[in-house]
């Protein structure tokens, strides 16, 4: 590959990685919020997120023949996914985790794995009734079009990006905007509202917060609701980005997003976003290692192709946990005896 084509290629890879990273970041927020409050890895979150994706698919499918603005359809899909995923998460918490409050850590963790397995099959059966397994998203017209159409119509950042040869689609831009919006709303809720303050208090010390008149269980439910709603959003975004979803497709993005949460420092909201973006870019870069291998003449690098790209998250996970278990933005947790 020529050096002159390398720069646009790299820019493309990085922008693609960032778009992917936003999806991971929003999923990671669901893990990180629950972990922050309960110190529990909610393994079921990957299925909550797939539920959001399935709801989004159903909304788009039902609305496909309806003559309606594409953005309105997207809004409806997002709201429906948020509601259902959020409620699902609350129900899971109420039935499976709350009775185990105070049990040794392994117990809720195993329950979470169990819930995740149950949800996988339930989703498969529900969709299977309609004879569907791989759900292919049919987006409203125009969403797959290139961002800002002909180059002459671009302005500002769009012009710069297309100028260096990055091809962005409209859905990618929508994805970034939705992610940023939900981040802003989450930030507002957690840092500016009374409920956010209460959630943070519960996360810090449930007993003391209880003494101050905060209903711990209600706040945990609220956290699960918010986390589930974020899962719903990320599900729709995931469906838009990848096009197909099935009941079992939550596992890999789930682990990747969890890695993102750990990478940024689990329990930290900006950390989850940072981790998600880094992992998105990393995944894209590993996927194109063969290009670099050819470029640099390294034979062993040249065999690493897209099929290895999912390994990026796992290897990153291992390295982070070994060398900096607190993550990039996390605070170290002193062990008390």
């Amino acid at each position: 590959m020529e050096l002159s084509t390398l720069l646009p290629f790299l820019a493309n890879v990085i922008v693609g990685g960032l778009v992917l990273g936003f999806v991971y970041a929003i999923i990671a927020l669901g893990y990180t919020m629950v972990y922050g409050v309960l110190q529990l890895i909610n393994f079921a979150h990957s299925e909550v997120f797939v539920t959001g994706a399935v709801v989004g698919f159903e909304v788009f499918r039902v609305l496909a023949p309806v003559n309606m603005n594409g953005y309105l359809k997207l809004l409806i899909a997002l709201l429906a996914a948020m509601t259902i995923s959020g409620l699902l998460n609350v129900i899971i918490e109420r039935l499976a985790y709350r009775p185990l409050r105070g049990a040794p850590k392994l117990v809720p963790l195993i329950t979470a794995i169990g819930v995740s397995l149950i949800l996988q099959d339930v989703l498969r059966v529900i969709e299977g009734f309609q004879g569907r397994f791989d759900l292919t998203y049919t987006l409203p017209n125009g969403f797959a079009a290139p961002f800002c159409g002909p180059e002459s119509s671009c302005v500002g950042l769009g012009k710069f990006l297309t100028g260096i040869g990055v091809s962005l689609q409209l859905k990618d831009v929508i994805l970034i905007i939705v992610s940023l919006l939900s981040l802003a709303v989450l930030n507002y809720i957690v840092n500016r509202t009374r409920m956010g303050k209460a959630i943070r208090a519960v996360a810090q010390d449930r007993v003391t917060a209880g003494l101050m008149g905060i209903d711990g269980n209600r706040m945990i439910s609220a956290t699960f609701l918010i986390g589930g709603a974020l899962g719903g959003i990320s599900g729709v975004l995931f469906g838009m980005k990848f096009g197909t979803v099935n009941a079992y497709s939550g596992f890999i993005p789930g682990v990747t997003a969890f890695t993102a949460a750990v990478l940024g420092g689990i329990g930290s909201i900006p950390g989850a976003v940072l981790g998600g973006l880094l992992l998105g870019v990393l995944e894209k870069l590993i996927g194109v290692s063969n290009v670099f291998g050819e470029l640099l003449g390294i034979k062993n690098l040249a065999v690493i192709d897209d099929s290895y790209s999912k390994l990026g998250a796992f290897i990153a996970l291992v390295l982070i946990l070994i060398f900096k278990p607190t993550g990039l933005l996390g605070k170290s947790n002193v062990e008390k005896v």
Partner: protein
């Protein structure tokens, strides 16, 4: 304490010798009849009823319950021995002669029982939640799968074409590197056992371990290159006589991988350990999927040989087995012996110093460390022991299936094994064997049987066919056990003592102990239990 750990049926329990023997005779008769195709076809309507997949699954389950009852019930020793030995050594093979799938099923159950026993050491005794356990199973399976199949010739051919460097020289360097680094690792280990480890010793140990891996890789590579001219002669893999050598090797290979994975990750605790082992298990699966040269990628390796023991084959032939059943019968006996060995090792370990150290770590890591338990070493031994059981069973699995592919080593397998351990009762050996039997039966007989039986019922849709609801059922088992009976079906005696005090036991220290296990403190990373209901300290929101 040891005396109380022995299984003692309550004195008041009625003697069930006659019931046990009767049950054994009846279920054995049914099993023998229902798997004898000729007999069934002569029996008309009854034969058809017995052939029904649900009835068949029920028969097998009832028959296997014999062994459980022989263990649980209070009966004369001779009756318990008769039922145990008779059903496993005589009735099962006899029924398996008519229907090989029964032998296959029993091997599968025992493989999973061994896996569950291995995971039980890691999770149940040492309290380290390992979600990538099936990786060690894969290591064992691929160790024999590669050399015991035509794949070996392919690899040799590749190395013959790409020798890279002089072979004798590479071999010498590799051997020297291996020996030197292993020696230095041992030396550093001895140093650190006397004095506190410093940064220098820690780093040189890591450096030496990297060197050891490099040395082993160089050596293996050189050997492969040197063997390359024999590629044509090995077109069907190594001589089956090497099975025994590799049976030993697979133990070491899996244990070595266990140590390799364990060394970096065992510093982590609780859910971090769970997620990192999950990640590593997935890494091994992706590697098996992508290293086409060694693992044939997603196509898988086939055919894989099994050992051939001439006198055993002759004996099997004399007993009326067909030649294509010899290898299954052989593996059945082998796996029975292996289970016996593994169980013995388990029981011995449990009562040994190391077993008590594991339990101490599970219950309170910090306290155990303060009492002088070497954390890292003890955890590594647990990991390596569990891994070695998985390795050996992986190899037997490869020989039984004659085919392995990355599909057999997915996360769901790890979770299935975990659910066996939890269902049976963490830390309890008979419990996890029971768990393995129940889950495997459920997976291989009962659910498919139900699925087959309901396939033609119109109001049960194809999508909700019980045969396809494995995940749902696993998940429900995990959740229900955690919520309702976290100690498992056959809880370990020791844990029962820890968690369920009789009211007449007024031991203050024991009371405190139970409290500590159940408190809401997030620092106790015990593999343990949801607090027992009578433990009001743990109530939380209850």
């Amino acid at each position: 304490m040891t005396a109380t750990l022995q299984k003692q049926p309550r004195a008041s329990a009625p003697d069930r010798t006659i019931l046990l023997v009767l049950f054994f005779i009846v279920t054995s008769a049914f099993l023998l009849v229902s798997h004898n195709g000729d007999l069934l076809s002569q029996m008309g309507a009854i034969g058809t009823a017995l052939k029904n997949p649900i009835v068949e699954a029920l028969m097998v389950s009832l028959f296997l319950a014999n062994v459980l009852f022989a263990y649980l019930w209070k009966a004369a020793p001779w009756a318990r021995a008769l039922v145990g030995v008779g059903s496993l050594l005589f009735v099962l093979p006899a029924a398996g002669r008519e229907d090989t799938s029964l032998l296959d099923l029993s091997i599968q159950i025992m493989i999973f029982a061994a896996l569950a026993l291995g995971l039980n050491i890691v999770v149940g005794l040492a309290g380290l939640l390992d979600l990538g356990y099936v990786a060690f199973f894969a290591v064992g399976a691929y160790t024999w799968g590669i050399v015991g199949s035509p794949r070996f010739a392919e690899i040799l051919k590749y190395f013959g074409e790409n020798p890279g460097g002089t072979n004798a020289g590479t071999l010498a360097i590799g051997l020297v590197l291996t020996v030197v680094t292993a020696a230095s690792m041992l030396y550093i280990n001895r140093l650190t056992s006397r004095a506190a480890p410093t940064a220098a010793t820690a780093w040189s140990f890591r450096l030496a371990s990297v060197g050891l891996v490099a040395g082993v890789i160089l050596t293996v590579r050189a050997i492969l290159v040197l063997m390359a001219p024999q590629a044509d002669g090995l077109a069907n893999g190594l001589n089956a006589g090497f099975f025994w050598l590799f049976l030993a090797l697979s133990i070491f290979a899996a244990a070595a991988v266990g140590v390799l994975i364990g060394l970096p990750v065992l510093k982590l605790k609780g859910d971090y350990l769970a997620i990192i082992t999950l990640g590593l298990g997935e890494v091994i699966r992706v590697l098996a999927n992508n290293l086409d040269l060694y693992s044939a990628g997603s196509q898988g390796i086939t055919p894989i040989k099994s050992a051939s023991v001439p006198w055993f084959d002759a004996a099997a032939g004399a007993l009326g087995f067909a030649p294509d059943q010899y290898y299954l019968l052989f593996l059945y006996v082998l796996v029975l012996v292996m289970i016996g060995l593994i169980l013995t090792v388990n029981v011995r370990l449990d009562r040994s110093r190391i077993g008590r150290a594991w339990i101490a770590i599970r219950d309170d890591e910090v306290a155990a460390q303060a009492m002088g338990v070497p954390l890292m070493q003890t955890k590594l031994i647990a990991f390596a022991t569990g891994a070695s059981f998985a390795g050996v069973m992986g190899m037997i699995f490869a020989a039984k299936q004659q085919f392995i592919s990355p599909e057999s080593f997915v996360l769901n397998q790890s979770i299935a094994i975990l659910s066996m351990v939890i269902l049976g009762g963490m830390g309890s050996f008979p419990g996890v064997i029971l768990g393995a039997a129940v889950v495997t039966l459920l997976n291989l007989r009962i659910l498919p049987g139900l699925g087959e039986a309901t396939a033609n019922i119109s109001w049960i849709p194809q999508q909700a066919n019980p045969g396809q609801l494995q995940r749902l059922i696993f998940g429900a088992i995990l959740v229900a056990m955690m919520l309702l009976r976290p100690e498992g079906l056959l809880p370990s005696r020791r844990r029962q003592l820890e968690l369920h005090h009789d009211d007449n036991q007024e031991d203050e220290s024991a009371q405190g102990n139970a409290g500590a296990l159940g408190t809401a403190s997030g620092d106790v990373y015990s593999a343990g239990y949801a607090p027992a209901k009578e433990d009001d300290k743990a109530g939380g929101s209850r």
